[in-house]
Symmetry: C2
Subunit: 197 residues, 2 copies
């Protein structure tokens, strides 16, 4: 099959739809959608997120040195999408307009989205200006889940969380599909194979 | 509903299952699974990936200053999982054992997985040691897709790519589910609402 070069572009899948929660200097809660994001490190646990330096959210992160990462479910994807459409500079009441409730995070000075099933509480650990965006590393001080998304062992279940996947270029959102197998397990058949020759 | 604190841990969903392709000093292709990864920046387009400094892949990235990010489809998830089980230090023939073919990237000195539907060709742009992992920023020099995963306008279609989602803690893989709406569109109803009061 033919391989087609698409050129240098910020494209890969899957990327998440996560909401960054911050307070401004006056304590107003703001929320911004981010898809340039992921887990970055295990010990200490860290997230990474790219934020344009022009954003109110970036200003707020520098002010408070902390932020939340909020994981919406597919039911609340429209509200999460709205957080990516409206600027916190122009609209101070984004939570109210979305019909969502800002809670105060337990470990940091930042708001989280109470209606979302999961959020991370992060302190600003490092940052690198890369061009359009500042790549921000946040150390995760706590992960907080709604009880309803935990399995019988108290572990977060991705199907219960029902998070949103963002597809760049297509500019569309997707849910999580079928379980296709256990990690560090389904590939064992290849490890156990004898080396070639 | 009750909110449960799970403590500081590297947990968020979705995270990707991507394969990092590198050559070692002798030109042997290596491939490693990574889930601590994402897009980091738009201009220039960059990816971010966390790699333990003890890994062969990290040594190879420092040697060649470049790497590929390969996106497996769900059919090849077992092979991709294998790349996360076996160390490139102990097994030089990982591609062969997985039954996959290393191709030489067009823009950089790194191998890509020919059977996967999409890969990114990246040069090492920056890195930060965060603890367990080194957070690596790669500038994307090209995105290469198999023709079969492009839509009629030549854009990569996430459902045709059929990428793999990794759920940390659960240690399981999932496919992409239903299309739940257009980005920067489904949230417009909230923007158009009159401000409260």
């Amino acid at each position: 099959m033919a391989e087609i070069s698409l050129g240098p572009r910020p494209y890969a899948v899957p990327t998440p739809l996560w909401i960054i929660g911050t307070y401004d200097r006056e304590g107003n809660p703001d929320a911004m959608a981010a898809a340039w994001a992921g887990i970055a490190n295990s010990e200490p646990p860290c997230v990474v997120v790219g934020v344009r330096s022009s954003r109110k959210t970036y200003e707020n992160i520098l002010e408070n040195r902390c932020f939340t990462i909020n994981v919406p479910n597919t039911t609340l994807a429209p509200q999460a999408d709205y957080f990516g459409i409206e600027s916190g500079r122009e609209e101070k009441g984004k939570f109210e307009k979305a019909g969502l409730t800002p809670g105060r995070a337990g470990k940091i000075n930042a708001p989280y989205v109470r209606e979302f099933p999961l959020h991370l509480e992060c302190r600003l650990a490092d940052r690198m200006t890369m061009g359009s965006h500042v790549v921000i590393i946040g150390q995760i001080l706590d992960v907080v889940a709604d009880e309803s998304v935990l399995d019988e062992k108290g572990r977060p279940d991705i199907k219960k969380i029902d998070p949103v996947i963002f597809a760049p270029v297509m500019q569309a959102y997707f849910g999580v599909g079928e379980n296709i197998g256990k990690a560090f397990e389904i590939g064992k058949e290849f490890k156990d194979k004898k080396d070639p020759e």
